[in-house]
């Protein structure tokens, strides 16, 4: 699992020759947002560049953008979040995942934080 400075996590898996990344927000981000009441997810097959707005997560308080942590094509979205957005709070780094992407350029993952580095990033 890798983390970004925008408090998103990425978990990589192989699907044949492709690298598929599952993406969500960190437990820290979920706690900071508070009770999640709505998640707007991207369309399947939509393409994004690293840094693009991909999704929106809304808490009781406010709406926040979710950025593409890497470039790629959406292969799946977590339909559970449409009826149960609170899953993001209950299991942010597991069942509360947002979407899956087929990665365009795996080198974009270089330099992302692992769990220990992210923990240290939060402390700093």
């Amino acid at each position: 699992m890798k983390y970004t400075e925008d408090h998103e996590w990425i978990r990589l898996a192989k699907d044949g020759d492709s690298d598929i990344a599952t993406i969500g927000i960190s437990a820290h981000a979920a706690e900071q947002l508070g009770d999640v009441v709505f998640v707007e997810l991207p369309d399947i097959d939509a393409e994004f560049d690293k840094g693009d707005d991909v999704a929106v997560v809304e808490s009781v308080k406010a709406a926040s953008e979710i950025y593409a942590p890497i470039s790629g094509t959406i292969t799946a979205v977590n339909g559970t979040l449409e009826d149960a957005p609170e899953t993001v709070n209950a299991a942010p780094e597991a069942g509360g995942w947002f979407f899956k992407m087929k990665i365009t350029d795996a080198s974009e993952l270089d330099g992302m934080m692992d769990a220990d580095a992210y923990k240290k990033f939060l402390e700093d």
Binding site: G34, D35, V56, E58, V60, E82
Partner: protein, 378 residues
């Protein structure tokens, strides 16, 4: 507000000690939420009792040197459209300060003290973000023989929710049956306070002015009851929005008239007819000709909240208004919003569209409030 320094209420350490997340609001460091979180705080307030620090608000007395209530009331009636003169001792009303164009400078509570020897005193509570301007506005118009006395030694707290009555009446038995929008000046467990049966949540409850030196003790006393939880600004906003109540600077401001805002109920009939307050011409024109736009409740279809600033369109895609408050209503169980639309679209059940992140989403005009008021009606 361009100065960076924020003030603290007397309860700052109390909030921090109870795990509050503090944010700057109207020049004050205020608790936006406690460890319970916005959703649970909101639901707790509707189910039991919630304690709020609203000490950032402005409190003042208007007192006539001649010792007559009528003198102070006649003056205040030149600045607000509500009937002040007919206030009975211990009675409270909601009103607004208007500018010369009939736009709302602030909304406020006005009461006549009920205590013997002080029944000529008028007590007002104004919004934190407007208080400096409000007090300057009053002083500018204040004639000789009247005084504005700003209460800088009093805190203000609110205990709201269906069980607030059980807590407060343990100390003030009369509080159980005191009418909605009335006040008492009494000791509460030895701490002198001005307590009114009113609030900003749509629930039964009380607003309590208490000396700075007693406020922490009073909050600890309330919090010692199992029914009571601390409620931050986050839930305060979702509670008032579900209750259909205006937030100054958002749902009402200097560009909105009280008639557009649907506040005609707060202007008693003879004052509508007779005027005699700043902004009366606009109010009378809006009543006679009906306003160009109206504040309405907006129910978005689906789950996506429509936030402040969202454009409202008719079914042909033409802009007809804007959302002024919007979010998620925990008790309503879905998104809730209010905003202004051109009058012909203000009828309940009118179908509209909301431009949320570039996409037109269906919604309809609904009657406010989203959650029925639960005021004490005797």
């Amino acid at each position: 507000m361009n100065n960076q320094t924020t003030e603290k209420t007397q309860l700052y350490d109390f909030h921090v000690g109870h795990g509050a997340k503090m944010v700057p609001f109207a020049g004050y460091d205020m608790p936006v939420q406690y460890p319970l979180g916005v959703m649970k705080e909101h639901l707790h307030c509707r189910a039991a009792a919630g304690l709020f620090d609203v000490s950032h608000m402005g409190q003042a007395f208007i007192i006539a040197d001649d010792g007559k209530f009528e003198t102070a009331a006649a003056f205040l009636e030149t600045l607000v459209p509500c009937d002040v003169k007919s206030l009975e001792p211990g009675q409270q009303r909601y009103t607004q300060f208007l500018n010369a164009d009939g736009g709302i400078l602030d909304d406020l509570m006005v009461s006549r003290l009920g205590m013997d020897g002080h029944q000529h005193w008028i007590y007002i509570v104004v919004n934190a973000g407007c208080k400096t301007e409000d007090f300057a506005h009053i002083n500018k118009h204040l004639p000789d023989g009247l005084k504005l006395k700003i209460l800088d030694d009093m805190s203000l707290i609110a205990l709201q929710g269906p069980k607030a009555v059980d807590v407060v009446s343990k100390y003030i038995p009369k509080a159980r049956t005191m009418p909605f929008m009335s006040s008492l000046d009494v000791p509460l467990d030895g701490m002198w306070c001005h307590i009114s049966r009113s609030g900003y949540t749509g629930e039964d409850g009380y607003e309590i002015a208490v000396k700075h030196t007693d406020v922490v003790k009073m909050c600890e006393l309330f919090l010692s009851h199992d029914e009571v939880e601390l409620i931050g600004l986050g839930a305060r906003d979702s509670l008032r929005l579900e209750a259909g109540l205006c937030l100054y600077g958002h749902d009402i401001d200097e560009t909105t008239s009280p008639i557009e805002a649907g506040l005609i109920w707060s202007i008693q009939k003879h004052r509508r007819a007779e005027g005699g307050f700043i902004g009366a011409e606009r109010v009378q024109k809006d009543i006679a000709e009906r306003p160009v736009r109206r504040r309405v409740g907006i129910q978005p279809d689906g789950r996506a909240p429509a936030r402040e600033g969202t454009i409202i369109q008719n079914m042909n895609g033409k802009d007809i208004g804007i959302i002024t408050s919007g979010g998620y209503g925990p008790s309503h169980g879905g998104p809730v919003a209010m905003g202004y639309v051109k009058r012909r679209f203000s009828r309940v059940d009118t179908e509209v569209k909301l431009l949320i992140r570039g996409k037109a989403k269906p919604a309809k005009v609904v009657k406010l409030p989203f959650v029925a008021n639960n005021f004490y009606r005797g």
